[in-house]
């Protein structure tokens, strides 16, 4: 369980390179993620949480340092190529699904994540029973709407679907970018529970950005705080269990002073 699956070594990420607006978003960031880690990530706005995800996923290229997957560098691989081992859920429910395609069609697309797509029939019908069973586990009526275009689903259903799509074909790394933030408190809590269940059941390696301190404490085996483009706090195992909201609060206020 303690084998590193993803390592970020001295990663520097800049945007608007060679212009007056050049900004360094990640400043010599080091992070080793072990297989089976469920890491919650905290940090104030602009600290570099989303930049970290975009760097891991390949939307942003790094300026120096290296990213290793099981010891091999993936720093030069394209965003599309990294989807073979990586999947992602965005904060905005609109980003995760294709609105004019049905729930089942979206799931089928996700079933082939990172694979070469050929001129072979898609065999939607053969997957319907499996999709029905999987969506009924989310407990929000998604299983009744398999043939509905996702554009007419509620935000909660869409996010639940995006999460299912991200885990349908087991990823080596799962990135959750505040995936419950756009939902009402009740729906958000339901999705968070379902998320935790599925991650535990499938032994997924997951990084989850959140703004809820209690979620960050409650879920996962490790908690990481990002500040000013670096890892400023990293706690796991028993130490994380002992952590309280008060301690985290004081830590944040220390940072601001």
């Amino acid at each position: 369980m303690t084998k590193p699956i993803l390592e970020l070594k001295h990663v520097v990420t800049k945007v608007s390179r060679n212009t007056p607006e050049e900004l360094t978003l990640l400043k010599d960031l080091n992070l080793t993620i072990n297989e089976g880690d469920f890491i919650t990530i905290l940090g104030s706005n602009g600290a570099g949480k989303s930049t970290l995800f975009n760097t891991i996923a390949g939307n942003l290229t790094i300026d120096s340092g290296d990213i290793l997957l099981r010891g091999e560098s993936i720093a030069n691989e394209s965003e599309e190529r990294r989807t073979r081992f990586l999947s992602r859920v965005f904060q905005d429910p609109k980003l995760g699904t294709a609105p004019r395609m049905t729930v089942a069609e979206n799931l089928l697309l996700a079933n082939k994540r990172g694979e070469h797509r050929r001129l072979t029939p898609r065999h939607l019908k053969q997957h319907m029973a499996e999709f029905k069973q999987m969506t009924s586990g989310m407990g929000n009526g998604l299983d009744e709407r398999l043939t509905t275009p996702t554009g007419s689903l509620s935000g909660g259903q869409r996010q639940a679907l995006s999460f299912l799509m991200a885990t349908l074909k087991k990823p080596d790394i799962l990135l959750l970018d505040e995936h419950t933030a756009a939902l009402d408190p009740k729906t958000s809590q339901e999705l968070m529970n379902a998320t935790n269940e599925r991650i535990t059941a499938q032994h997924l390696t997951c990084l989850m950005i959140t703004h809820h301190l209690d979620d960050a404490l409650k879920y996962g085996n490790r908690l990481v705080v990002i500040g000013d483009g670096k890892i400023t706090y990293d706690v796991s195992g028993e130490d994380k269990q002992k952590l309280t909201q008060e301690k985290l609060y004081s830590f944040f206020s220390d940072l601001q002073e």
């Binding site: 989807t83 073979r84 082939k112």
Partner: protein, 302 residues
Amino acid sequence: MTFGLGVSAIGQGLLWATLGLGLFLTFRILDFPDMTVEGTFPMGAAACVAAINNGISPIWATLIAIGVGMLCGLATGLLYTKGRIPILLAGILVMTAAYSVNLRIMHGRSNLTLLDKPSLLKLPIFAHTPMYFDSVFLGFTVIVLLTLVLIYFLQTDLGQAFIATGDNEKMARSLGIKTDNMKIMGLMVSNGVIGLGGALVAQNDGYADVNMGIGVIVIALASIIIGEVAFGELTMNQRLVAVTLGSILYRFVLLVVLKLGFNTNDLKLFSSVVLALCMMVPVFRDMFNLKRVWKRGISTHD
């Protein structure tokens, strides 16, 4: 006479429906307007007529038209995805360039005739068909084949990736779909089909003209939109069929316009007016609350 005109309208509608089907792939699925078609259509016609004039069989000449259409699509696709030129401008660039290429293909002449030359409509199987029915049969065969091929393609893994690209590009990329390649492929297939349309129309009319591309995007859009307005909510497969029916309906609208005493010079004006009216249907619907009126008409008042 009137019966003949009706049959002719159906034949024209079927042959021109290829344009609607081709444009459907970009306009409705990839969700952008591709101006390339105004250059591709005459290029398909010119390439086909020039090939036949050079002694190539009509079937091969038609396939050549598809090939040059695909090349036009490739050019637009590369400018758009790799060159990062906005799609509208990329299409206009290729369309403008195509004008010169078309004149080259036709040896500097603006019009090239097929008089006394073979064509798909003069194939032996059409020898005994009554007047105008040859274009109906040819158009029908091509449209059925084309629609079936498109239906199959859109249900494959590749076709689904293509649809997803037009629907939510960011999601498509996050699932490992190479969206640039999907767009290039879509533009190539779309313009290949439009090149085919050019070849069919040229063989039906008996000539290719360098100006025959002007306004064809409006005609193609008209068949798509008339089909949608006339038949409402449909599945993807039904929508493909609706394009052909829309194309035939559009020909009948033109027939009525001519019957009212307008001449063929006025047709482009009417094409635009018809398309504009159809595209404004949702606005009118809200304005006059038509839906409620229609629903009331069939409600039982109990």
